[in-house]
């Protein structure tokens, strides 16, 4: 009897864990066509054995596909996958089979690093689109550097990421030291705030951005009434909000992501806070509305991602995206799309330089690093020595009842 229940527990645990790993693992079924009919390459790609049949090229994405940030993570993956799907034929003509290799970093540094380890050990992986969280991107980039695997981030804004001098690290969006000051300037000049309360989520992203905002506020003479950290994942922020209501600032600036930001603004309004609520690109998600409910109205945020539907051409692209992928358009969708194209372009260049043969990862890295005036769907990309995009902009948005409205470019 006793033994039986042991077995029962064990098998239940086993079944559950198998189901879970099956879920968390990659779903590379999107390609459909089997990779060059079983012509698996015996040696790592850089052997270059003179065959014209190039073989498999996998481009990975790393973003949170599960967990509380999955709405944006999925948008990045879908955008990148859409770009890859569109260029499949082009690469087939060159003899390459293109494949998306989506990974779920769960917004967790540990998982991001172990995924990165797996990616660099797979010789067919030629680039990574990711990450969403700077705190995940920094430790993972150590691995990419080891494997000479190029990374192009659609969304990381943490200053430290590209300051560490890693050659593999690139991003097409603006950094926090551009975003933070511009957000602070907008708050002071356009919203006319005189006092501010800053709350951050203690992460590399949230605190980094908040520091930048604080510095700019101090420079401009906006009085900082408080600078507090909150714990990610908690649901009750009344302790810090009671302090906010007492000091009654003109604006709460929140450095962090929408799961906490949504709760914060909701609870702040419940406590009678009437001022502005502002955040960075971490609030840039349609889920913000779901979490905050009616309280979302009037929330202002800066984002490093612009509104692609501002132009006619962009609108057409957005329609097509929604039709083909059957997913809602998030502002980061187009950044995932552009990041993927930057990498694919690098692969193409490297192949050309390699005489049509499958290039090495290092050649791809070089080609991507040299990207100059590449016109993506939304953003123009020129990488500087550090891997930052010299054409990156910061944009202002405002939440209406059920969507975010593009206000304009932040100057």
């Amino acid at each position: 009897m006793k033994k039986r229940s042991y077995v029962g527990v064990l098998s239940a645990v086993l079944a559950a864990s198998m189901a879970l790993t099956g879920c968390a693992g990659n779903s590379n079924s999107s390609g459909g066509s089997n990779a060059s009919g079983g012509q698996s390459q015996p040696a790592p790609s850089n052997s270059g054995n003179g065959k014209t049949e190039g073989g498999l090229i996998k481009i990975a994405t790393q973003s949170p596909l599960s967990g509380s940030n999955s709405a944006v993570g999925d948008a990045i993956k879908t955008g990148a996958g859409y770009a890859l799907e569109k260029r499949k034929e082009e690469f087939k003509a060159l003899g390459f089979d293109l494949q998306l290799f989506p990974q779920d970093d769960q917004g967790d540094p540990k998982i991001g690093v172990s995924n990165a380890e797996m990616l660099i050990s797979d010789p067919d992986v030629y680039g990574v689109v990711g990450h969403y969280n700077t705190g995940v991107a920094i430790p993972s980039s150590v691995k990419y550097e080891e494997g000479k695997l190029v990374m192009v981030s659609p969304a990381n804004t943490g200053v430290k990421l590209t300051e560490e001098g890693k050659k593999t690290v690139h991003r097409i969006c603006a950094r926090d030291d551009a975003q933070g000051p511009k957000a602070a300037l907008y708050a002071k000049n356009t919203l006319g705030v005189k006092t501010a309360y800053i709350i951050h989520d203690k992460t590399a992203y949230g605190q980094g951005l908040s520091d930048q905002v604080k510095m700019q506020f101090e420079k401009d003479g906006v009085q900082i009434l408080g600078f507090e950290g909150i714990t990610q994942g908690e649901k009750d922020y009344s302790a810090v909000l009671n302090q906010v209501t007492v000091k009654n600032p003109d604006i709460i600036f929140f450095g962090g992501l929408y799961p906490e930001g949504g709760i914060l603004i909701k609870q702040a309004r419940e406590k009678g806070f009437k001022g502005y609520f502002m955040g960075g690109d971490g609030l840039d998600s349609s889920d913000m509305i779901k979490i905050a409910g009616a309280a979302v109205e009037g929330v202002v945020f800066t984002s490093v991602a612009g509104d692609v539907t501002q132009t006619e051409e962009g609108k057409k692209w957005a329609e097509e995206y929604k039709k083909v992928t059957n997913k809602p358009l998030e502002t980061y969708s187009v950044y995932g799309f552009d990041s993927m194209n930057v990498i694919l372009n690098g692969v193409l260049e490297a192949t050309k330089a390699n005489g049509g043969k499958k290039p090495t990862r290092e050649q791809v890295l070089d080609a991507v690093h040299k990207t100059k005036d590449f016109q993506g769907q939304f953003t123009k990309v020129t990488f500087d020595e550090k891997g930052d995009n010299t054409n990156a902009d910061v944009f202002i948005y405002k939440f209406d009842k059920d969507k975010s409205i593009f206000v304009g470019k932040a100057e």
């Binding site: 009750d236 302090q243 979490i291």
Partner: protein
Amino acid sequence: MLAPFPRENKSSQPNECRKFVQVYMRNEGWESMINILPQVLVDGLTLGFMYAVVALGYTMVYGILEIINFAHGDIFMVGAFIGTEVLLISDALGALEGMNPFVALFITLIIAMVLTGALGVGIERIAYRPLRGAPRLVPLISAIGVSFLLQDLVRFTEALARNEFYLNSPALFTGSIPIGSIATIPTKGLIVIVIAIVMMIALTLFVNKTKWGIAMRAVAQDQSTASLMTINVNKVIMLTFLIGSSLGGATGVLFAQNYGTIDPYIGFILGLKAFTAAVLGGIGNLRGAMIGGVLLGLLESLSGAFMGPLTNGAFGAEYKDVFAFSILILVLLFKPEGLFGEAVKEKV
């Protein structure tokens, strides 16, 4: 919303107590701190009663089996998800419209309590009973395993069913009751407090006045002697898990109502704090768990609101847990049986 907002008039009516504070402190910060004190207490009480009810589950199981059911926090989480799903589904079917919110909450609570109660009994049967003779560390590890299993199962099923696993509960109560001009209690917070008190009173009556309650206390004292007195020990333990888990599940529903957003990982932090509350009050002691819970909630709220101003910003609200847990360590150092625990073997 982008128009400038009228600033609240901060001038306050003359008040003897406040004058005293002003004269002796000569510091505006103190005045504003006194002003928010009522609101801080209200928030702390709401949180504290939530801890208290969850702490009951820890303390009951410990009182009877002397094991710490670390899966209890996740049973609470499952309760929150069941309650939210019931509300979301009935909302989608249009059943919530026109329904009295109290009736809706009552039905949700009953469904969540029945299901989480059954879950608790099932966990006891599968993960604890086979290990009952084993060293105490073994069921503890098993409990931690169950805890992870529950988190991932919820994550998995919600991801399959809804493609997202942090849910937003439809709000049944949106109003709030002002207490004079000093504080407001949101209706949902008041409901949390009232229901928590009702559950705690009902449990106390059950344990003290009914035959089953006496049996529970007997098993807590001595399992083998109790079984000699024709008490079915297994049934009593099952009942303990049933009651403890359904209380936890009900609290989950209240949590979802009060804070609006839930995810599969809420059980961990809250469970840890509720467990702390149980230890603070004296684990194995029902009254201790209740008072410990309320105390911890108040401590957390007070330290969160006042630590920053008192230390001039050196320790902000982010250190509120450090403060609360330091108190716990101090209590354990100087009164290891907890504030209300008795050193003798009188349990439950």
